[in-house]
């Protein structure tokens, strides 16, 4: 056991042991342990195998950033072992292993490495045959591809989203972020402070600092009710107008902040040398986190690579943790010894300057670090902590418009943000001394506060003390390789150099060709080294090379948390319950539920046929409430419709109903309906179910330009519609208590009446979609059920039958009525439909007029006609079957169905304009390829003289 005594182990609760398994072996850890810390405590350092060479890999940073420490959970691939807490019975497995973690058959890839240089797959796997890639090589590569395994049986999880708002969002609760948030909140701002870690403090929580500092900040923080603290919450991106996703477990807080302070800290960088990826080699921050957060001893005997004070502090931490520090190696030239160095010497730690790690070697199978070579001599050790420098955490700042630069003087990566609502504090702004970081917080807060209108004095940013140039490791390719730059993608120094030799010299090309930075860590540990290598190889400066664009998200985020949970929108007519009671087969049409037919599924065809016959021979009742219903009111109402529709409406008499056809500016048909003039200044207009939302919006848009004196009201939900249709429709209505005279003379075809029916205020229109005598009753929706009941009762003696959408479609087809969107497409003109009758020749203007005139001049190519397929035809084409002329497609069938009334299959179809004459024969290609000849017939297959609907 590598456990250290309390107080080390701030995150774990030793009174709560937890049992879990890794690779089938059972392990024990404590509540608060991460998978990686619990395994490390038990001496299990290897966590996974690498992407390409299947080398053993373990803890690198303890931040959960990279692929080395990704493990497989039963229902969650690619889980960060360094961050994910253990739980009782959790089953954890290693990823990307062929066999087991211990015995990975693909470990042999490490030997074949020289056969697999960068980009090799672009130059190979092509032969011998043209389809060899698809048939042989790709399947083989796909088997090797990927990391974790997705559980296709994963149980459903609940995710949700909330919306947060604040004056100031501070990202990162390290020394800088804490002091910034506190300063702003103490000034009265409404502040949210988030940090991905379970505790506040950042480096103060694991670094070698005076505990009083964190204690002081914490006590001030707790006194502030207007500061909302969200720990365990990742700010995973910055989007336009300060819109930031804060991810707290399975919850996404979509957060709008007026001002943002990014105190996201810095990212420690690994050193590049042969076998720098061995388990046991870790960043010094990882060792400190293991010690202070989890009370885990990171090794027995350590070599410390230190090119800065953090490295020296780590050495002291290791000593305190009972790790013997064999040697501290400082690659910097000997300078004046700081207090830390003195303290270390005082504790008899050998310190070697001007030297560095040249190569490391591992135990059998590279399963753990065994020794390192320094200045030609080998030193045995099982731990190497690396502290040679860091980069500011550039991801969020860059998404917020920050530009990454490189200060050749201090050898530092720098970030500059444009003037605006986003500010930097702490290490991300370049500070590396604790006091500088703490001081930078209030400074950033002051800037934000003044922008928020608080009286705050903005101090000029003082340049941080640490002007001393950073150490820069000189990167030279090891002749034997395995000097990794990108651990995720198994990329070595020579791979990047070779890419530039092949001409991939731009950093984005290097990235795409080598895939450097494209793995789970998204370049956190490779970007700077890559820039330096490419700069070296192409004779440019690191500044010129730069780094690749930092795209969101900052860290991996589950699709579940992004998707959240959303109920599926459904709309119901006021008669929904009535249909259910009548055993209707309800189906969705857009968001609406509509009855397709009434009855059981097994007798559907029978039911539909009976419904059709009921309408043709008796009377039927259809719920048409989903129809769009618009009311146009105002002195200019007539003029408004004149401009929008193709027919004349200004001169339409009150009490009359007119068909209306709407075109877009291109002259294409986009909707149709009827307009009932209720009063001089009031029209009641219907639109098709699917189009009404757009039609309504378009009306408002046009009038935003025209500014006519009209008001457009969408009554689609407010009013319901009942279509009573069939030869006996009049008898049914006359049997109802009403002040409307339904007689033919008093209430002729294409007229409308207002009145009361069965105590319900109604707007009745005589229109015919079915081709039968029809009265369409519209009424306020809350009264529709009453009206429905009354009509059903009055209709019973006449055999009235409610009918559904299926019957309705056949009925309209028999009558040759078109359905917009089915019988029309995006370029259909009225001429193509033979709707010349519906287009006013007198009106000076209506939308689309100019275009249809021009398109008529350019020449019409197709025409919508009726086709009839005699009963007993062996093969019947389906919808969308092609109409051919000389073997070439000239049109297609838009609607087809069997007409019980005509006892034949009838269709609407586009044919070549020269074939439009009745009697001419066209060729239709059936689904199975058979060619059929069919005669062109009139649109209105049924009752061409309209005697029935106008009776």
């Amino acid at each position: 056991m590598n456990r250290l005594p309390a107080p080390l182990g701030s995150r774990i609760d030793r009174s709560r042991p937890i049992r879990f398994s890794f690779e089938g072996k059972s392990f024990e850890g404590y509540e608060g342990d991460s998978i990686a810390s619990a395994l490390a405590a038990s001496g299990q350092w290897v966590l996974s195998r690498s992407f390409k060479y299947h080398r053993p890999r373990g803890i690198l940073s303890m931040t959960g950033a990279d692929a080395n420490a990704l493990v497989q959970l039963p229902s969650e691939p690619n889980t960060a072992a360094e961050r994910t807490p253990i739980s009782e019975g959790l089953r954890v497995c290693a990823q990307n292993v062929n066999g087991s973690l211990e015995r990975d058959r693909d470990a042999v890839m490490d030997r074949f490495g020289r056969f697999l240089p960068v980009g090799f797959y672009y130059r190979t796997f092509m032969g011998p045959r043209r389809d060899s890639w698809l048939k042989f090589w790709e399947p083989m590569i796909r088997r090797k591809a990927g990391l974790g395994v997705v559980d296709t049986k994963a149980p459903h999880r609940h995710f949700d989203k909330t919306n947060l708002h604040c004056d100031l969002l501070v990202v990162g609760a390290g020394p800088a972020g804490l002091s910034a948030a506190i300063a702003a909140a103490e000034a009265g701002a409404d502040v949210i402070l988030c940090d991905e870690n379970p505790e506040i403090g950042g480096s103060l929580s694991y670094g070698r600092y005076d505990p009083a500092v964190l204690f002081g900040l914490t006590s001030r923080l707790e006194a502030l009710p207007n500061l909302r603290l969200l720990t365990g919450t990742v700010c995973n991106g910055w989007y336009e107008d300060n819109w930031l996703p804060l991810i707290e477990g399975d919850r996404l807080h979509r957060t709008r902040a007026r001002e943002v302070i990014l105190a996201t800290g810095a990212i420690e960088q690994p050193a590049v040398f042969r076998n720098n990826d061995l388990p046991g080699i870790m960043l010094s921050g990882a060792a400190q986190r293991l010690i202070r957060h989890y009370g885990v001893r990171p090794g027995q005997s350590a070599v410390v690579l230190a090119a800065n004070d953090d490295g020296y502090r780590t050495a002291l931490d290791l000593l305190d943790a009972g790790v013997s520090v064999v040697e501290l190696v400082d690659p910097r030239s000997a300078g004046e010894a700081g207090p830390l160095e003195a303290e270390l010497r005082g504790r008899s730690v050998a310190i070697r300057k001007d030297a560095t790690i040249e190569v490391a070697e591992g135990r059998a199978g590279n399963r753990h670090l065994a020794r390192v070579r320094i200045g030609g001599s080998w030193i045995a050790c099982d731990l190497l902590t690396v502290s040679i420098g860091q980069t500011p955490a550039w991801q969020l700042p860059c998404q917020a418009g920050g530009k990454v630069g490189y200060d050749a003087g201090t050898q530092m990566m720098t970030i500059t943000l444009p003037q605006g609502p986003v500010h930097l504090a702490g290490a991300v702004a370049g500070t590396d001394e604790l006091q500088d970081a703490i001081a930078s917080g209030p400074r950033a807060a002051a800037t934000a506060l003044s922008r928020l209108g608080h009286a705050a004095t903005v101090e000029p940013p003082v340049t941080p003390k640490a002007a001393r140039p950073r150490y820069v490791q000189k990167i030279v390719a090891d002749p034997k390789g395995r000097d990794f730059v990108d651990f995720d993608e198994d990329l070595q120094v020579k791979d990047l150099q070779n890419a530039t030799k092949d001409g991939y010299r731009e950093i984005e090309l290097v990235k795409r060709f080598t895939t450097v930075g494209m793995g789970p860590s998204q370049g956190r540990h490779s970007a700077l080294a890559t820039a330096r290598i490419v700069a070296e190889a192409t004779g440019r400066t690191v500044g010129e090379i730069g780094i690749t664009t930092a795209r969101p998200p900052v860290g991996p985020e589950t699709l579940g948390v992004l998707a959240g949970h959303q109920e599926v929108l459904e709309r119901r007519t006021a008669l929904h319950a009535r249909h259910i009671a009548l055993n209707a087969a309800m189906k969705p049409v857009g968001a609406w539920w509509r009855p397709y037919y009434y009855g059981d599924a097994n007798s559907a065809q029978e039911a539909i046929r009976e419904e059709i016959l009921a309408v043709r021979q008796g009377v039927g009742l259809l719920d048409v409430s989903t129809l769009g219903k618009l009311e146009i009111r105002g002195p200019d109402a007539g003029e408004f419709l004149d401009r929008l529709y193709t027919m004349a409406h200004a001169n339409q008499p009150v009490g009359r109903v007119r068909y209306c056809l709407m075109l877009n500016e291109m002259g294409s048909v986009i909707d149709d309906g009827v307009a009932y003039r209720i009063a001089e200044d009031q029209f009641y207009v219907t639109a098709t179910t699917g189009a009404v939302a757009r039609v309504y919006a378009d009306m408002l848009f046009w009038n935003a330009e025209w500014r006519l004196k009209v008001d457009v009201l969408n009554l689609t939900g407010a009013f319901s519609g009942l279509n009573v249709t069939g030869p006996k429709a009049r008898m049914v209505l006359q049997a109802l208590d009403s002040d409307i005279d339904f007689s033919r003379d008093a209430f002729p075809y294409l007229s409308g009446r207002d009145g009361m029916v069965a105590g319900v205020p109604v707007r009745v229109m005589r229109i015919g979609f079915t081709g039968e005598l029809s009265y369409e009753l519209h009424c306020p929706s809350s009264l529709a059920p009453s009206l429905w009941d009354a009509v059903m009762a009055a209709g019973r003696p006449h055999g009235l039958r409610p009918y559904g959408l299926e019957a309705s479609r056949i009925l309209r087809l028999e009558k040759g009525h078109i359905l917009i969107g089915q019988d029309t497409d995006a370029i259909t003109t009225p001429d193509e439909l033979g709707f010349g009758w519906a287009v006013s020749k007198k009106k000076p203007f209506f939308v689309g007029k100019r275009s249809i005139e021009m398109r008529a001049r350019l020449g019409q190519t197709r025409k919508l006609v009726g086709l009839k397929f005699p009963a007993g035809s062996r093969n019947i084409p389906g919808e969308s079957c092609l109409v051919l002329r000389g073997g070439a497609p000239v049109g297609q069938i838009t609607s087809i169905g069997y007409s019980p009334s005509l006892e034949a299959h009838i269709a609407l179809a586009y044919v070549h304009v020269d074939d439009q004459a009745e009697g001419s024969r066209v060729t239709v290609k059936c689904r199975d390829g058979e060619l059929l000849e069919a005669p062109v017939v009139a649109h209105a297959f049924f009752d061409p003289t309209n005697a029935r609907q106008e009776m």
């Binding site: 949700d160 919306n163 105002g634 008001d711 407010a718 105590g759 809350s782 009453s786």
Partner: protein
């Protein structure tokens, strides 16, 4: 037009379109006020006529009070009366309007087109933050403010009521809305037991 003998059936009453859909209660409470007295005018002449009746009109997107009714100004010519406890007053205005001669605006039929629901309960704030993206913090959104926005992913009008938030939306989406609120409340509950 008057209703006479026929009975009004709203989505959540027996026989209504949302019949069988449960209204959530507990930490979050959703109640249905759709049947309560409500009447609105929209279109040219509406504001002038109401002003002439002595109805004080608030600014657009603000709420005024008139003899126990809440007067919502949804647009220059779009005014809505909600008379939860002042049915008579509303009936008088409605009667006056019906008999008046134009110009007098036009009915906006909100009493038929909109569901009127009330969200309340101890977890109201969390629930609203899950349903609506708008900044509804008290200092940003007062008692007389109107938000024409999106609630539960559908267009809605939201404003404060003594016990929580009142929400007006497309009546045909009533069943969906009840489910959406229940789902959000459920998540809230799961999220913070």
């Amino acid at each position: 037009m008057t209703a006479g003998a026929a009975t009004h059936i709203y989505p959540f009453v027996p026989g209504g379109a949302a019949d069988g859909t449960k209204l959530i209660s507990g930490a979050v409470v959703l109640s249905d006020l759709t049947g309560k007295p409500c009447f609105g005018l929209k279109g040219g002449g509406s504001a002038a006529w109401l002003a002439a009746q002595g109805v004080p009109l608030p600014a657009v997107n603000r709420i005024g009070d008139h003899r126990g009714m809440r007067v919502l100004r949804l647009g220059n010519e779009d005014i809505l009366f909600l008379a939860e406890n002042a049915g008579e007053t509303l009936a008088q205005i409605k009667a006056a309007w019906l008999t008046a001669v134009a110009p007098k605006g036009y009915s906006s039929w909100r009493e038929e087109g909109w569901a009127w629901m009330r969200l309340s309960g101890p977890r109201l704030v969390e629930a609203m933050s899950g349903l609506c993206a708008l900044d509804l913090r008290p200092q940003k959104f007062g008692v007389d403010d109107i938000a024409q926005t999106r609630v539960g992913h559908i267009e809605a009008v939201a404003f404060r009521s003594p016990t929580g938030f009142d929400i007006l939306f497309d009546i045909t989406a009533s069943a969906y809305f009840a489910r959406a609120v229940a789902a959000v409340a459920g998540h809230q509950h799961r999220g913070h037991p």
